[in-house]
């Protein structure tokens, strides 16, 4: 399947293809952005067109689609015809998944491969579950944020099952890299959709503790802050009243030599949703300003001012937030 293989004989010289007349591509006059095809590519596609037009669903046609895919894994017409051949030949789809494994090793960022996997897995049903979960794990060991693989894994869980170890797997990935936003997203996916867990509200308290720990270890990490907010989706009042959340913000604001931008941003959102801040919180925020004297009554304005200074890339945004604070905010 190596498209650069020197020992691959041209199709026109292979005896098993001598009965087939290749069909050339007719670009017409003045084609736009013509591509400089290699001979290999051109010839393989010429033979593919021939078997397609003849609707030949034979083993040699199947093999030809493999060669075409090796040269051009994005060509969905080839993949689609391969599926027709596989169905006609009643091919072993476990073998087919082996084939896709091979193609994926050099083409993993290709939508057609993932669709083909899904097609085969869907036909195999529950038999394919652990294999597909293992396959995506393998992809993650090389690229833990691989977008297609995560989509595929989510599809497998929802269509075929296998939720038992998913939360533990997220935990493992986060232990390896607490900054892995894909793993945080998957964690949210599991706690909200797993039929084996109790749903978001049941899981919330333990998840808040877990997330707080992650934040304390790396307060500059955006992912757990977003996750924390997500735990209170559609329930801002619970977020505002949650003692763990307030304690967390306070801890970060009072710590030395840490990034507190996300903590301030969280505090600002809490204030905008009606938080009545404690004296301790007011003092901690005020300590970050260069102002002398006791904290004023406008905590939200103070927070915006600090953010303008410590997050200058978004200075215009923080200025706008300051100018659009709800009337009754502290």
């Amino acid at each position: 399947m190596n498209s650069n293989s020197d020992h691959k004989m041209p199709l026109s010289q292979r005896p098993e293809w001598s009965d087939v007349t290749p069909v050339p591509q007719d670009d017409g006059p003045n084609p736009v952005v013509p591509i400089s095809y290699t001979d290999d590519f051109r010839e393989t596609m010429d033979y593919f067109r021939a078997v397609y037009l003849a609707d030949e669903r034979s083993p040699r046609a199947l093999h030809l689609t493999a060669e075409a895919i090796a040269l051009n894994a994005a060509n969905y017409t080839v993949w689609q015809f391969r599926r027709l051949i596989l169905e006609s030949l009643e091919a072993d789809l476990h073998e087919e998944l082996n084939f896709v494994d091979l193609v994926a090793s050099s083409n993993s960022k290709n939508y057609q491969i993932w669709h083909h996997r899904r097609w085969a897995a869907e036909k195999l049903g529950a038999e394919a579950t652990s294999r597909e979960l293992e396959f995506t794990k393998k992809v993650f060991s090389a690229d833990a944020k691989h977008y297609h693989a995560w989509s595929h894994r989510q599809w497998v869980l929802q269509a075929l099952g296998g939720w038992e170890d998913e939360l533990a797997y997220c935990q493992q990935l986060l232990e390896e890299d607490i900054f892995n936003n894909s793993a945080w997203n998957q964690r949210y996916f599991v706690i909200t959709r797993s039929p084996l867990l109790g749903g978001l509200e049941t899981m919330r308290d333990s998840e808040v503790s877990y997330t707080a720990e992650a934040i304390i270890s790396k307060p500059e990490n955006e992912s757990p802050w977003r996750y924390l907010r997500g735990l209170f989706k559609n329930d801002m009042q619970s977020l505002v009243n949650d003692p763990q959340v307030l304690s967390l913000c306070l801890t970060v604001l009072k710590a030395e030599n840490v990034s507190y931008v996300f903590a301030l941003s969280m505090l600002l959102d809490l204030l905008c949703h009606g938080l009545q801040p404690s004296e301790e919180l007011k003092n901690a925020a005020h300590a970050l300003t260069s102002e002398a004297g006791p904290p004023g009554s406008d905590l939200a304005r103070t927070v915006c001012s600090v953010l303008e200074r410590v997050d200058p890339m978004r200075i215009n945004y923080w200025k706008w937030r300051k100018s659009t604070l709800p009337a009754q905010v502290v």
């Binding site: 500059e220 992912s223 977003r226």
Partner: protein
Amino acid sequence: MEDSPPGSSPDSNSPSRAESFDRDRHVFFLQMMYQLMPSQYQGQEINRLTLAYFAVSGLHILRSVDSLHKEEIISWVLSLQAHPKNEALLNDGQFYGFHGSRSSQFQKIDNGVWTPNGSHLASTYCAVAILKTVGHDLSVTDSETILKSLKNLQQPDGSFMPIHSGAETDLRFVYCAAAISSMLGNWSGMDREMAKEYIINCQSYDGGFGLTPGSESHGGATYCAVASLQLMGYIEDGLLSKRASSCIIDVPLLLNWSLQRQAADGGFQGRPNKPTDTCYAFWVGGVLRILGAYQFIDETALRNFLLTCQSEYGGFSKLPGQLPDLYHSFYGFSAFSLLEEPGLHPIRVELGIADNAAIGL
């Protein structure tokens, strides 16, 4: 105390950047690509129309499209259109749009009809965008064929499949359907309410949008979501001043998420804690433009980042110091248009074409 997401802090050994946007060299780059693409692109053969869109629309944004033979372009694009053999077949469940290239059109049978019909939604978007750019109006009959058969691609959950023979469904194709409908000025080909519901289901807990419900929020997916809602009429101007409850999506969270995508090196990233990349200056920058929040970014920092991705050969690369490619070049030019670079046409950001192409001048 500044935020410094992993992998994006300024590097003192980073390649030196040009001081200015090198329009002439970019025009040259696009013209070369338009004439002949190197064999490394043969893997993108099936999407040749997309490559043509990058070249033609790119030249238009750079105010150099008149250097091309418009009639040639029009006849090539139209030759890629799929037609049913007769009127009756329009209800056969197939989509009759445009092929991405001749590599999915194998044989002409009769009346200019090719077999098989491998026409694709994304290629159709590119075809219509190119035709708009060179000033060709699709005839009423042609638009009807596209719009009537577009319905065949919409799924029960509101999403779109790109080809009728079966493929993945996600936000990219909702966007293509909306953009095609908008450019053809006719919404009869899709159920907007259903599409809107699908989009809403794609908004993640962090405010951004994933390609499918449950997927990680991503800059490109977020553009598809927001641009589609705008085109379909579900997002109004002045969105930022509206109260949160009056909007179908969580705008404040979306705004905050999108702005946070601008990293310490000035460029935009597609997801938290990932490297910055030229193209997100368009995808995420575009979202902010649609929301009316573009003025909240640090334009100087973005410009400086993009200039480190500007190639001495013309075009833009994905990351600083790499070789340019057509995709990142097009989105680099579009990003500079959003930055109001002098000498560039302004773009209609939700359609991905120049403003004056969108209004048919």
